[in-house]
């Protein structure tokens, strides 16, 4: 019965991205971090027309339950971010590192040529909890590092997504029946 997916196509840019989309928290938030990266195809070429969405818990590990995911008020944490890639395939978010033993950010990528989105997770480096995280542990060991962001600076991380090719990122099943 489930309604099938169709591609987001190339022409969503005037409809889906919004000015506050990349700001899960404002950049002046005391705990703000930046996570950025590129979305790349099987030839290593960047996607200039991808849409990246993230959803995550706050620094205490709590998931927002009220409204405000879109128009975050002031210093609030929205939990949700949306960013279209630029001409060089770059996306970025201003957010906080989520709480929990193996902090991670859920990510969906939509694009022309993706008839359904790819779902992945960005974990953080140097986290002892990663070793026992049930989702990460179910990933073939040789591919786990595709799910771990790279530290670029004190409060800056890089997470590139390879849709295909030798360094293909791990993507998760999204169909669970229905």
């Amino acid at each position: 019965m489930t309604t099938p997916s169709q591609t987001v196509g190339p022409f969503f840019g005037y409809a889906l991205p919004y000015a506050d989309g990349p700001y899960v928290v404002p950049e002046w938030h005391p705990d703000a971090i930046r996570i950025r990266g590129r979305i790349l195809d099987g030839a290593g070429e960047p996607l200039p027309d991808a849409l990246v969405e993230i959803w995550q818990a706050d620094a205490a590990g709590d998931v927002p339950r009220g409204g405000g995911a879109w128009r975050r008020a002031g210093n609030d944490f929205s939990g949700f971010g949306r960013c279209g890639t630029d001409a060089a395939g770059n996306y970025w978010f201003s957010t906080v590192k989520p709480g929990g033993p193996a902090p991670h950010i859920a990510m969906l990528i939509f694009a022309r040529g993706l008839l359904k989105p790819v779902a992945t997770r960005a974990y953080f480096p140097d986290e002892p909890g990663n070793a026992t995280d049930p989702v990460l542990s179910a990933v073939p060991p040789g591919r786990r590092d595709t799910l771990v962001a790279v530290r670029e600076g004190d409060r800056s991380y890089r997470f590139d997504v390879h849709l295909r090719g030798e360094r293909e990122t791990v993507f998760f099943e999204r169909y669970f029946g229905g």
Binding site: S5, Q6, K116, V118, R164, F171, F172, G178
Partner: protein, 223 residues
Amino acid sequence: MTDPNPPYLYPPYGSTPLRAPAQPLVMPKYGPDAIELSSPVFGHEELGILDDDLTRQHSGEPLGERIIVTGQVLDSGGRPVPGALVEIWQTNAAGRYVHLRDQHPAPLDPNFTGAGRCLTDADGRYRFVTIKPGAYPWRNHHNAWRPAHIHFSVFGTAFTQRLITQMYFPGDPLFAYDPIFQSIPDEKDRERLISRLDMDTTVPEWALGYQWDIVLGATPMEA
């Protein structure tokens, strides 16, 4: 239940071979508190009052056939999903998007942007007033044309249900030639993307009504 979704790799759609993942998907072992089992929540104060009427977003009325598009957002058990954010975007009546990279030599309409959003009501119902979009050419293959469609983006109650798809209009003769529509393996699943003309939604002397329900996938906890 078999997966109604298209595969990632569908060579007739020429953008898929370089972008489709080649490795098998990993079945995630989500615990009950996995982030993917919750969803962003949106409030009415986050939307504009004219966001659900695409014919009133400019000083004049857009050209084309005014239509009403409505339906319910349902979960895999057929239960309505209230408060779900539904976003749409589409071409104008001439088949042109308000997008810098759309080079189709059809006219823009100064009174039509073609983007809207609303939240479903207590019965899971959404409703938009818009104009019927046009078919348009694309460069996938020689003489390629997309059937008229409205893009839909929907949030359910879990991030695993997040859906972006396209709604089509009944009886479109371009279905047989469209690799995006045909990428869905099963004909019955393809038909789930086709709205139906509904005379109860139609407003006499004013606008034809189309009805289209959206059924979100089961969550891992429901499976």
